[in-house]
Each structure stands twice: as structure tokens, then as C-alpha cells.
Symmetry: none
Subunit: 300 residues, 2 copies
Amino acid sequence: MSEASHLRIGELSRRAGVSPELLRAWERRYDLLRPTRSPGGLRLYSLEDLERVRLMSRHIADGLAAREAAALASRAALGPEGGEATAGGAPGAALDAEAARARLARAVDQFDEPAAQAVIDELLAVATVDALLSEAVVPFLRDIGDRWERGELSVAQEHFASNLLRGRLLGLARGWGRGAGPRALLACPPGERHDLGLIAFGLALRARGWRIDFLGSDTPVESIVGAVRTVRPRLVVVSAASAELLTPMGPQLAELAREREVAVAGAGARDFDPGDSDVLVLTRDPVAEAEGLAGRQGLG
Amino acid sequence: MSEASHLRIGELSRRAGVSPELLRAWERRYDLLRPTRSPGGLRLYSLEDLERVRLMSRHIADGLAAREAAALASRAALGPEGGEATAGGAPGAALDAEAARARLARAVDQFDEPAAQAVIDELLAVATVDALLSEAVVPFLRDIGDRWERGELSVAQEHFASNLLRGRLLGLARGWGRGAGPRALLACPPGERHDLGLIAFGLALRARGWRIDFLGSDTPVESIVGAVRTVRPRLVVVSAASAELLTPMGPQLAELAREREVAVAGAGARDFDPGDSDVLVLTRDPVAEAEGLAGRQGLG
DNA sequence: CCCGTCTGTCAAGGTTTTGTACAGATCCTG
DNA sequence: CAGGATCTGTACAAAACCTTGACAGACGGG
């Protein structure tokens, strides 16, 4: 897994998001990389080199001069991964979520899937699922929403970003139905197609021992009720971006809530009126709410 | 073990999606294959050779240069390296797709996520992406559709299955925008939410060297057109389950088709009338159509 | 405000890599 | 035996790289 594939400069450039000219300049001026050469003289890089370039880029984004960044990146190559102390940046810990979101946003703007995946890879490498969700995914979704409302984002870009993130989150979700914990059934009401927040919520619950049954977007109330009868979950979560989609199912939710925990979530939950039913209204971020529910259920 | 199902170069070319000239060039330049010869001197290939060519193609699609891809593909022939989950296995290994589908169906009926994931894991272990798609995914989607029409499947079960499969397919799709191949832009028209077939198509194209830009379900025509302007793909694919969703965008598709390849796919393509435009109508399964398009584009 | 340094970018001119094409001879199958 | 499929060898052109050298904007110090 360590060494391996030999990338030519073009591919390294694409994966690292640094132009070939600059890569050569860094090599010449700071001796950042020492690629092997093909018989014909072409530079061949390893995956370690890729990491080093990414590290250098990150340091530059943090405000260091190129020379300093190169020194740091070169040193880090040997020593056991230090804390990556970001000098004077965000209050964040080892993970500069702010910078990551910015890079992610740029990748989405350009429909650059590899770059976006790379950012997520880096985030996953240093963050727990909880941190990933609350510091990157949730803010990123908010960003997307804001830019969308301001008209800065096209539908195509929004879809592109959603599908990319959905793939990664569902990847993390693999096996979330396994185990012996209490079951939670997750769904969005009819008309609602924003399921990313719900997936994030599912992951946060999973990290606390729940078993997840995920129905996803655009699920009719009767189907949810039917699934509840089959699955017999301890918790049902319905998420929507607008309260208008939640209100019509109020009675059925209230009915369900007589035998089990029922909650509404998402931006739409804020304006949802549970009346005198036992339906919980979750307005905080997924991780916080998952934590709250875990406590309520006497779970870790 | 290594059955010499003597394939001639034409047959190998068709199955691997690589032109005969290129196969000979790879043999000469990188010693990728060492076919036996017929008494008259014709090259005879084994199924192992086929796998090796496919592996090489995949590495190229990942952005590696031909020489490096060949080195990796040759090395993989001996020891199973990391990452070759889809191609490394026994080439002829019979995958009992029928039984797998039955188990998958039962798992879905019971909302048993772990069981369903296990079935998919097994399939992935022995099948190539192509085989997985054409022998498992596509028939499974058809099954779902049929049972849905007969009312044997609840909405909840359909959603459950879709999200599960979507997660796995998008997992396989990771990095499908990488590399230097021609770009293909994939989307569903407004109102269409069945994107699984389209994802499968994207994977099949990917296996043949294309770079994929995926917009997914429910994308307005103007957004598709806008994205085309940004991305400048060589191919645009629009997929829908019903022709009613495709017909309204006929004019825009015809317009797009004047400068690049445009195709409609999905069940709805069957009833789509391209008129006198150059819009291609893809009615066969994703793998077959991807193969056809690859040939049309002179791709490997 | 001027000057030297740092950095990212570009251009010119030449080489390597790689997919594709062609020509003429040979092989295979109905 | 005709016609399609292959074989060998050579050639090409586009894309990607290489090296050297230069240059403009940003920035800190005098």
C-alpha cells in the first residue's frame, strides 16, 4: 500500500491540483520531490509524492511562504505524522475544515470530481465520523444551500455535489443495519429530495450504536407506516427542508409516536408544530441530536 | 486452471474494447501479453489475457500512462495486489447471478441490509464490473420494476433497495471523473428519479476509459445545457423511465447533438422519437451500449 | 517610493510516448 | 477457392514532457 504506482507529471498535477510547471519549479527550487525517471526521461511520481504535494498546498493555503511550506512538507515525509499544527489558522483541531470546504467548493464549481474526492479523502484520513459530519458535511450543505439561494450555484453543480457526497456518505453507511442495537427508521416525506442531512443523521446515530433502516427521499406516509410495522424500530425520523411537507403527515406521526419515539428533523423541523403529540422536534445539527437521542435511550 | 479458450485477436478486441492494432502494439511495446500461436501464426489468447487487458484499460482510465499501466497489469498477474478486487479473481469463475438475485430479493423483503450487502460483496469478489452490471444489477432493477408493477413490492422496500444499491454503485464510481479519457455527461430529465440505470451506464463507460460527469436525477434541461458548456463533454446521455419525460427536451437535445454525441437511454428511450436529429437512441443494456459507443469513438 | 527577492506562469524548441493507419502477404472457414 | 480476418513492419501525428530562460506581480526593507 505504501509505494506503488508511477504517475507522470500530468496525472500528479490533476490529482494534486497543482500545475505541471509549478511542480517542476518546486522540485528545482526547493527539492520538494525527487521523482524517478522513465527510460526516456519522464518524471515518475509515487503516491507518497502526491501526499507531499498536497501537504505543501495545504501549508500554502494556511499562509506559509512556499519555501517554508516545502521545508515542512519535506520534513513530514520522514517523521511520524506530527499534529500538522496549522500555524495561525482556524480554531479547528488537526483538521482545517474551513480550508477543506473552500477547496471542495472550488472543485464543485469546476465539476472536478477527482479533486473533490481528494478533499474528502484527506478529511476522512484525519477526522472521526462525527467531526466529518459536524465540521465539514453539515456546513458544506449549508454553504450549498446559501449559494443556491443567492443564485451562485447552478442546478447542475448542486446535483453534481449532492451525488458525490451521497456516494461517499452511503459508502460510510455500509453495514449500518448490522448489529444488535435499537433500530431507527429514517425517511423523507413525499416531495422531499434532500436526503443528505438524513444520511448524516443516520451515520451519527450509527456511531452511537443504533441500527439504521434507511428509506430515503420521497417516501409516502403509508409506506413509512407499513415499514414501521415490519421493522418495529424504536425510533422513526422524518426529515424535510420545509415544514409544509411535514405538516400533512402530522396525524400519522402522532399516531406512530404513541408506541415509539418519533422525531422530525431537517430545516423544516424548525417550523413544525407537534401540537400535543409526543413527536420530537430536532433542530440542532445531526451529531448533537444523535447524541441527545442516545442519552434519552440510555445508549453510549 | 488456466483454460486456453483460444480467442483470436478480433474476439479479444470485442470483449475487451481495445482495437486489434492497439493490442498488438501493447504486446510489442510492453510485452503485456504472450499469446500462443496457431499453426498458421495467428495469436491465440486465454481468458486470463482478457482480464489483463481489462485491468490495463482500467489503469489507463485511472489516469496512468500506458507503460505504467502495463507494468501494473503484468505484475498483478502473479500476486493479488491491493485494489484489484474486480479484476483479479478467476476469470471464468461462474457467478451464480440467479441465486444471488434471489438472495438479494429476500434480503430486501425483510429490510435486511447486512444480508444484502453480503450478497453484493460476494458478487464483487468474483465478477468484473461488466458482469456485475449486466448479470446482476440490470436484471435486479428489472425484477424490482416488475414486482413493483405487480404490487408485490412496497414503496418502502423499493426505496430501501434503491438506496442500498445506489450506495454500492456510487462507491464503485469513486474517481470516475479522473483521467484523460473523453468526458461523458450523464443526467436524468426533470421528474425522473430512477438514476440507478444511469449510474450503471456510467460505470460501463468508465470501464472503457471514459471520464464521467454525473448530474443524476431530476435535472432541468437548461442546467444540462449549461453544464455542457462548462464541461464540454464528447457525449451527453439523458436517461428516463418514460418517453414522456424525454420528448419535451427533444429540441434542446437535437441542438446539443449538432456539436457532440447525444444519446437517450433508459426504458423511456424505447418510445422516444429522435425525428431527423442526430440523437442516438440506446435501448439495449448499459454494458452493450457502452461497448457500442466505445467502438463508435474508437476507444479502448 | 525604490529595489531586490520570492513565486507562479509562460514560451521556445526539441524529445518521448502512444494510438492509429497502411501495404502487401498469409491464414482460416464456408 | 473467395472473402474476411490476421500477420509483420513501418510510418505518422497528436499529446504530453523536458530544459532553459525570462518575466510580471506581490511583498518587505531601506
